[in-house]
Amino acid sequence: MKKNKLFAFFFVLLILILVGIFLFVSLKSELLIKKTKIPTVKEKAPVLEKELNIFNWENYLSEEVIKEFEQKFGVKVNLETFSDSEFMLSKVQSQPDKYDLVMVDHDYVYLMKNLKLLYPLEAQKIPNLNYLKKEARENSYDPGNIFCVPYVHGYTGIAINKKYISDFDGTRKILWDPKYRGKISMLNSVQEVLVSALFYLGVENVENPTSEELEKAINLALKQKDLVLGYDDPIEQRELLINEKAWVAYIYSTEIGEIKEKNPNVEFFAPKEGTFLWSDNLCIPKDAPHKEAAHAFLNYLLDPKVSAKNSQDIKALILNQAMKEFLDPKFVQVMEGLDFPKEKEILEKSRYFTNVIFNEDFQRAINILGAKLEIEE
């Protein structure tokens, strides 16, 4: 009887197996077909490439830091420089697979992000991102640093010469003060001039002004034309302030370090109305050929020691909150507060104006003002 049951059991088992195979194969048949016809992607383990192509402003990266990186990681760094963000954009557009790291100013980050030209950073490969200054992380052009690592940050402010000016109230009023006719230097950027006027007007939504507000700002800016010494580029402004031809300048914070060194009478303020913020950021183009090396370099740059060295070499503050102990105290004294306005209220009022490019009214106002001021950028 036992033998009988065993036989029956195996028979039923055999049938169940047959049915099982039938069901399994028919359900998985798509996979079988797929295997024979469909190309599949094999994921490769990331390997550090032996090359890294950087596209940067001139003198904006310490050569020694690059050399150290090359030695430490065995990566050959090829550095190319540009002098205009538009050139950079044009290059990256036509050759998205040429560069691994590009220096992009904040509104181009916003723009290139929109043009889908940037590769989202793999944050886990940049653990040193934790050292990034809190203010830089809370930017509005790339919240959360998805596409860029802020490198150097600055803002436009007012530099005055203490020797000649004692009644400065911290606002833009001084830029329209007839007392200093011929002693005021404005930036040779129409956008800066217009934005400055908008801030002085106290426009509520300064990044998206109404056309009336823009018109008012244009008129205000035109009033300034007779008062100013000139609309100068930053290098000219530097000279004018050092040799005291200009007593007041609407100038980039990053120029101040050098000026202060040569003329200690010059002081720099963030205007109380809030101001124009800008930054330079390192981005990886979406088709960068050496993405691993690019990530490694970004992480290396944010190492506190490296950041400190780089800051001192390029004379600008890298946005690393942990590097202070490695910096020369004198350097700290000169540079402090030149990356972000020290006063919290001012920082809160300040803006990046990233959407100006897409704002037709704003663009038109810039063109009108530019034509009337005859500014050559």
């Binding site: 009988n4 077909i33 557009q93 036509s94 998205p96």
Partner: protein, 454 residues
């Protein structure tokens, strides 16, 4: 104990019933899947082929038109002013709706004139501009996004030479992208299928949904392999939808001596939609297989019962007969061999019963005869016993007589004893005489031996 006959039949039926069913289902399943998939893919392939021809035509025509334009005597002439050239350009743009804008750029990247002045950029660092300048050939750009105006563009850069064959400037021609995208927008596969264009870096260059432009195609689409294979079939997931697709490279390399972008057309249809028929067919096949499966099991149970039931009845009946019960009759209405068997069995049982009855009867007769005989014998026996008793009596009488005689004889023996004692003396003398005679006889014997002849 062995497997019962019924189970044996059951298992054999199941085995030979299910095996063909499964094989049949397998075949139907694979064949139908194969043919349906083949139909879906060949449909997609046909669309892909047509699209690639259309795309190639569009680019080739653009290329040829630009080539003709660059030979336009008005544009070429160094004697004609820029203003007049500009007028001519505006006419041309109106005539060729394929061109959105034509701009003349000098070798340093400065714009000389333009039909719309909408497209400006830093030509100096534009790789395609540089290549056209360097190679003095018509160069086609990739489709790329520009910021001002914010839209995708495709540019051709053509060198223009003056009458003496000296390079004078470059012509940057912007293609009207809407006309180009139309080629792809027109494609509809089923309800949800569509076509799009990618380059070898996986950027989407044309897509019915403009928001997807310049996005990367999904990671699970193998760019390298598909570009190497030039055309084929694929399945991949894009924007959370599973697609079946066919792809084909756009052959642009013949149109220019300078390197052209590598493009690939992909025609997709969501799997869900493409495989609706296949899935319903699958369900039907599953259902049918299940029904047949159950049917075969039912049939096996039924058939094995049908075959083994009469045997079981027969066995029971036979068992009863074995116990001596001949009243058993198998009730069967069947007309087949089993029916016949039952009939004959019943006949047999009946006959057997009759024989058995007859046997019983004859046994009874025999018993009566035996009884009669026994009686006779008993009587005979009695008579014999009586005779024996008579004889025994006679013998006893004779024994008594003999006893008497014996006593008489004993008395006579005693008398003789007395007589013998008297005669013993005489006897002894007789013995001595006898001894003398013996001696003599021996001596005579000795002489006899001596004379015995040898």
């Amino acid at each position: 104990m062995k497997l019962s006959f019924r189970n044996k039949i059951f298992f054999i039926l199941i085995f030979f019933g299910l095996l063909p069913l499964l094989i049949f289902s397998f075949n139907i399943f694979f064949l139908s899947s194969y043919f349906l998939k083949e139909t879906i893919f060949s449909n997609l392939e046909e669309i892909t082929r047509l699209l690639s021809v259309e795309t190639e035509d569009f680019i080739l025509n653009s290329f040829n038109d630009i080539s003709i334009l660059s030979e336009n005597p008005i544009l070429k002439s160094s004697k004609i002013s820029l203003e007049e050239k500009s007028k001519e350009l505006n006419k041309i743009v109106k005539y060729y709706p394929r061109f959105q804008d034509i701009t003349f750029v000098d070798e340093y990247g400065n714009t000389l004139c333009s039909t719309s002045f909408r497209f400006y950029g830093k030509w100096q660092t534009n790789a395609w501009f540089e290549k056209a300048k360097e190679k003095k050939e018509i160069v086609m750009s990739e489709i790329y996004a520009i910021s001002d105006p914010k839209e995708p563009i495709l540019s051709f850069f053509a060198p223009v030479f003056d009458e003496e064959g000296k390079f004078s400037f470059l012509m940057a021609v912007q293609i009207n992208m809407e006309r180009f995208f139309e080629i792809f927008d027109r494609v509809k596969v089923g309800k949800e299928g569509y076509a799009f264009l990618i380059n070898s870096r996986g950027d989407i260059l044309a897509h019915p949904n403009r928001e997807f432009l310049f996005d990367k195609i999904s990671q699970n689409y193998s760019l390298k392999e598909t570009f190497e294979r030039k055309e084929g079939r694929a399945e991949f997931n894009f924007k959370n939808t599973d697609f079946v697709a066919t792809f084909k490279n756009v052959a642009l390399n013949q149109i220019s001596k300078v390197e052209t972008p590598k493009w690939q057309i992909i025609v997709v249809q969501p799997k869900k939609e493409a495989f609706v028929l296949l899935n319903s067919l699958k369900k039907q096949i599953y259902l049918l297989t299940l029904i047949f499966f159950l049917f075969i099991i039912f049939l096996s149970v039924f058939l094995s019962r049908l075959i083994s039931q009469p045997l079981k009845e027969l066995t029971l009946a036979t068992e009863k007969i074995a116990k001596g019960n001949f009243d058993v009759q198998i009730k069967s209405k069947r007309t087949d061999e089993f029916g016949e068997l039952a009939k004959f069995f019943n006949q047999m049982t009946k006959k057997l019963g009759e024989y058995f009855f007859a046997l019983e009867e004859s046994k009874k007769v025999l018993e009566i005869r035996v009884k009669a005989r026994t009686k006779e014998l008993e009587e005979l026996n009695k008579a014999l016993e009586e005779k024996v008793q008579e004889r025994t009596k006679e013998l006893q009488e004779k024994i008594e007589e003999l006893e008497k005689m014996k006593k008489e004889l004993e008395e006579k023996i005693r008398e003789l004893e007395k007589f013998r004692e008297i005669t013993v003396g005489r006897e002894l003398k007789m013995i001595e005489l006898k001894k003398e005679i013996e001696k003599l006889k021996k001596e005579i014997g000795k002489y006899k031996i001596k004379y015995e002849p040898k």
